[in-house]
Amino acid sequence: MTKLIRGFNETNIWNLLAFLIVAATVIPVANLALGVLPGENENWRHIREYLLKDYVVNTLILFGFSGLFASLIGVSLAYLVTVFDFPGRRFFQWALILPLSVPAYIAAYTYSGMLGYTGIITRALSGLFGRDISIDIMSVPGAIFIFTFFLFPYVYIISRAFLAKYTASLIESAIMLGKNYTQIFFQVILPVSRGVIASGSALILMEVANDYGVASYFGIDTFSIAIFKVWFGMGDVGAAAHLSLYALAFIVFIILAEKAIRGQKRFAIATTKVRLLTPHRLRGAKAAIAAGYSMLVWSLGFFIPFLQLVAWSALTYEEVLDQSFLQATVNTVFAAAFCASLIVCCAAIITNSARISRSRLVRTAGKLTAVGYSAPGAVIAIGVLILFIWLNAMTELFWSYSLITSIYMLLFAYLVRFMAVGCNSLENGFEKIGKTYFEASRTLGFGVTRTFFKVDFKMLLPSMIGAFSLIFVDMVKELPLTLILRPFNFNTLATKVYEYAHDERVHHSAPVALIIIAICSISVYSLSKLDKE
């Protein structure tokens, strides 16, 4: 620490900026945590006695299984579509990202609709077997199913990009050493890509941690639900803070695990030669299995719920769709695009200074943004609200503008929420680039800032666009922050869906859900085009 770069130089400006951004995104949550002392009161004793065990167990089970299944599905599919050629490969390459475009809470409602008594799947099964057969999706295994099939693309995207570019020679030399493709997957691919798998599943786990919609609909007590219940229901901030400490332990665990799995050595591949692998052509039964597996995952994670939503929309679209949806669509797209761009820029500052700084403090600062991504939305919302009330009080003296009814409060909350997604993506981007280009440019007379714009930026661009699409999609789906913090009369597509879904009228929410899926799909599709280059 004493060996920080000395002197007021460019690096310090980068660090300062990064520091301010991280501080801004952490303060709303930290502020809440620091502001209240966790209370040892009656509520807390009650929680500890009757509920805490359930919270811990449920959260751990959801984390463990969703993370494990999503990672396995994600990597295996990535391996399949990069290393092999089979019927439908080109289509699945991008289509397997589509599940990301379906918000988890909509997936939950749709599946429980299909599997409910009047649902199409239950009907079909009953018709087939002649007696009532029903699958109970509203359970812990059901939640694991939803999280697995709608979040696995986080791992899929990142490991596919990695495999496609950097493992051709590894795979080829393994084949020369007499390994078959299954052995290669377990002995070479899994170990080598553990870093990217870790970073993809960290995102998945954070999404699981912050989930409110699925768990509350399925009646599963997780920490997110508990914090909401204790704080908003019982009005006990102290006990909620106590719970948050536990939840925070989970997040710290995720971050540390990711770090540990990645290992000390950053796996940067510095060769200028990127050779693409010629896919191995599968035939006969093997080709059918590969295609069948991809088809199954794609159908469960996208196509089946999509068809169901289309069918429901046919029933209700006339009743539901009106002019207000145009406005809601514009609002959604504008807010998402604006914030996604801003977040990508901020994340570039944070990750770049983390990369160039010798200070451990700065290097880990970016990780703190995870707090914003994994905390329950309602908690962030109130944290941001407190910050803005304070700002409002400061500015009121000379500026009559009301910040707390403005859109800026919501936009800022989005930054707090999704900064971690940006940092995560760009960190991986920087890792792929390595540091030698940066160093080469420095010895050729370019400072940190000019190097960033002349060298790093160009090479990072694909990662930045990738990060943009991911954040954009996340933002279009975002619900809890928008609900609580929006200005008067401001609607997004997600809040429109909520109005019906909350009233258990899932058929009526279908048309809007389809608009959300359509917008996200466009973004996801462009993401896949990008990888091709």
């Binding site: 770069i5 002197g7 130089n9 990127v274 160093e439 010895t443």
Partner: protein, 213 residues
């Protein structure tokens, strides 16, 4: 002395063992010094310290009478006027060969710039390759471009990490001769890492060996 390293201590973050302990090195102006040593002994590390890519844990580095690394000061790499050839070349993949060599020459006018780049392309025998991209080059060709790129801004001090390891003998000999001529004519100082006896004899005035710590 043009280059002076005194009492340098250094270890990599996260490692316990010091790579360099109480390390000394000096070179006079215009001198060409080769660095020898076993693999892993710290040759690349010395070069990176001089370039400003690593910060010493103790000791001082002076270049041309200016303190560039010491207890209270640190001059960043871009202000040290050193050129560097990396062990893994580090050619910018998004720039062509021509643009890579021109990268450090932004202070020159267009005409000067193209004259300089073209003469360097000639030096490395790659005049036809200006518009190619790094991934379209062989290992040896990439290495040559890296040398040309480092020479381009006429640095006072040139650092090269195994610059000829991938180049065939005949061409290597030619490049050595020409680089020596260039360095001498500009009285530039040069430090380079090598495992090759011929490099040592043809190019350097003097050699030092780094003992593993």
């Amino acid at each position: 002395m043009f280059l002076q390293l005194k009492n340098i201590n250094f270890k990599y973050d996260g490692n316990h063992q010091y790579v360099l302990k109480d390390f000394h090195l000096q070179a006079a102006k215009g001198e060409i010094v080769s660095i020898l040593g076993l693999s892993g002994s710290g040759k690349s590390t010395v070069i990176r310290l001089i370039a400003g890519l690593e910060v010493p844990a103790g000791g001082t580095i002076e270049i041309n009478g200016r303190l560039v690394a010491g207890p209270d000061s640190f001059v960043p790499p871009e202000k040290r006027k050193v050129g560097m050839v990396f062990q893994d070349y580090a050619l910018f993949p998004h720039l062509s060969v021509y643009e890579n060599i021109a990268f450090g020459l932004s202070h020159l006018s267009k005409a000067e710039l193209s004259a300089r780049v073209n003469s360097l392309l000639e030096l490395i025998n790659m005049s036809e390759y200006g518009s190619r991209y790094p991934y379209q080059l062989s290992g040896g060709q990439q290495q040559r471009v890296a040398v040309a790129r480092a020479l381009a801004p006429k640095p006072d001090l040139l650092l090269m990490d195994e610059p000829f390891s991938n180049i065939d003998c005949e061409l290597k000999q030619k490049m050595r001769g020409e680089i020596r001529e260039i360095l001498k004519s500009e009285s530039a100082t040069c430090l380079f890492v090598t495992h090759d006896k011929a490099d040592l004899e043809d190019l350097s005035d003097r050699s030092i060996t780094i003992e593993p710590n």
